[in-house]
Amino acid sequence: MDFELNEDQQAILEAIDRLLSQHAGPARAIELNRQGLYDDELHSALDDAGFSTIATDLATADGPAGLEAALLAEAIARAGGVVASAAQILVAPTIREEAIEGPIALCTVDHLATPVPIRFGAHARTLMVLGIDEVLIIPLTRGEMEPVRSSFGYPMGRLANAKRSVELRATGERLGLQAAQAMTNWWRLSLAVEAVGTMEAALQHTVAYVKQRRQFGRAIGSFQAIQHRLSLCAIQVEASRWLAREAAYHGAQTEAVAAAAAFALHAADQIFTETHQMSGAIGFTCEFDLHVWSMRLLALRQELKGVSGARRALVEARWGALVCANA
């Protein structure tokens, strides 16, 4: 058991932070979001630096390098990167050995029949679709997906024509039950990991703000009413971080992943609420960076049935026999 980064992990994080300092950050996210664009430049930089394939490149006999991939996805989320990095780095390599062309968007099969906004949907080259007992990997052609305007921090898109869903499903490569289970776990883990990086950035931004914002003659961060709530937020973020990293290290086992996602996605709501409350009216404006992270937290809670989906998965994984007995 060791909670500190080893030398290799340290080097990976230093390298990604260097890259992100050049190609990401809240100002860039705000500009891209304003235009509804995907960050092709950052996506290419991640590919060129070999980060997109780190899970398979560093894989061992025990499986993909989930922890290293999770550390990268956490860092990219923290930097507000407008890229489908978690799907690319964490999910895809654990489903199929051969590379899947990115950007990759993730959705469930019902989102084809009843189209809803999907993160990175309008810019994806590949749609990975999770069914009950299969995964479909569907190459997308231009115009198949339409952009959807959204306030929730990610470029969104949905299937332009719901009638095409049957045809689309037929064109996809089908992977079986094992892939469906793996995709569920790694996707759910990626939500926890992205939530961690995003929550951390939102919280850091708010802590910095309450230290300098003065009202009633003092920094608002000196009021105990603020301090206690921020302390509670810090606990949520740190616990989410270590649950997610531990689950990634152990190869995204169902129970550990469900616990990590259940905790982190619940925490995400608290972090959203508190960071906005403490940032006041300026927190809602586009000139203030908070929304880059805060709005995304609510988007992450929409996938895989969010908190309740993760909690149910956790109960089924831990007390499966008991749940089945009642089914």
Partner: protein
Amino acid sequence: MEFDWSQDDIQHRRDIREFLQQELPGNWEEMSQHGPGGDSQAAFSRTFCGRMAEKGWLTQHWPNAYGGRDCEPWRHSIVGEEMWAVGEPRGSQYMNVNWIGPAIMNYGSAAQKQFHLPKISAGQVLWCQGFSEPEAGSDLAALRTRAETIDDHYVINGSKIWTSYCNHADFIFLLVRTDPHSSRQRGISVLLVPMDTPGIDVHEIPSVVGERYFHEVFFSNVTVPTSVLLGEEHNGWEVVSHALQFERIGAARYARAAVTLDKLAAVASERGMLEDPIIVDRLGEARALCEAARVLVYKVIDIRAKDRPPTADTQLARVLSTTCDNAIGRLALEIFGPESLEYASFADTNFRLAMTAGIAVGATEVQLNLIASRFLDLPKD
């Protein structure tokens, strides 16, 4: 960064579980319903800890020189988890091995070490801690119990309150003010006082938590030799701060909560309650909380294992452990319904043992203050 237990640790956990199966009596559940301070549990702890000592497990994380085996804190954390999971058969002796013994190692005289440490490592002695006073709860530095030096003795007058385990304790780890002109943290000392010293009176404070849970301890001209002083005179604040720096996570509350939760899930299943999505959601929430508390405690153990100075991670872990304990205590009431209203029922016992978590070993608000200043670096004013 890696999150594996060593093969030795995995085997050790198996050994401990097997040991518990052999050693715990058939009526253990009934015996442990009043918690580590209960009469039967306190009496049992003397034989049980003796057996653990024979195995070399009671103080295995202590240095060889003091009867330990120089094991890593991780090994001791396994013992803590397994003991708390079954209701802590070490009774109050978990405090002895966690921090009272180590405090004596760090600050004690040769004679104190020679006298106290073998007793603790043999599992033959019970301690309590004399910290809180009627006017010094969360604000411990306001304590007023005084010890006046007369020749080569201290004469102690004052009182301690909310003291657990003192009805069975052989010694009290006592915080007193030795400098009458001092205030706050200065002028405080630690005395290791035998509980059978004349002038010490223990009174139970009846409470809804359980029988013999809280006590008030009165000191009337209690005269002890100055050789009971631990560390330097007037420097007790440092002694106790050092001793307790990791103790806020010393009780593996999440481990007990997790076992309770497994039982609650089984009961919910038997009663068809798992068809209710709200109950499923609550169980999932509670399980995630147990895991979150566990991993934050592990983070603190990692810091300790590397012999690094303590950080506010201890407070983060403490608050979440408290949250977890309380959440599962309340969920037990919900799942058992009106049955939980009977004293000593499963839900009642778990709820009562959980309900003090946010106050014991420093109120949650104090922990949050420390997180604000030490972890978030928020300004004082």
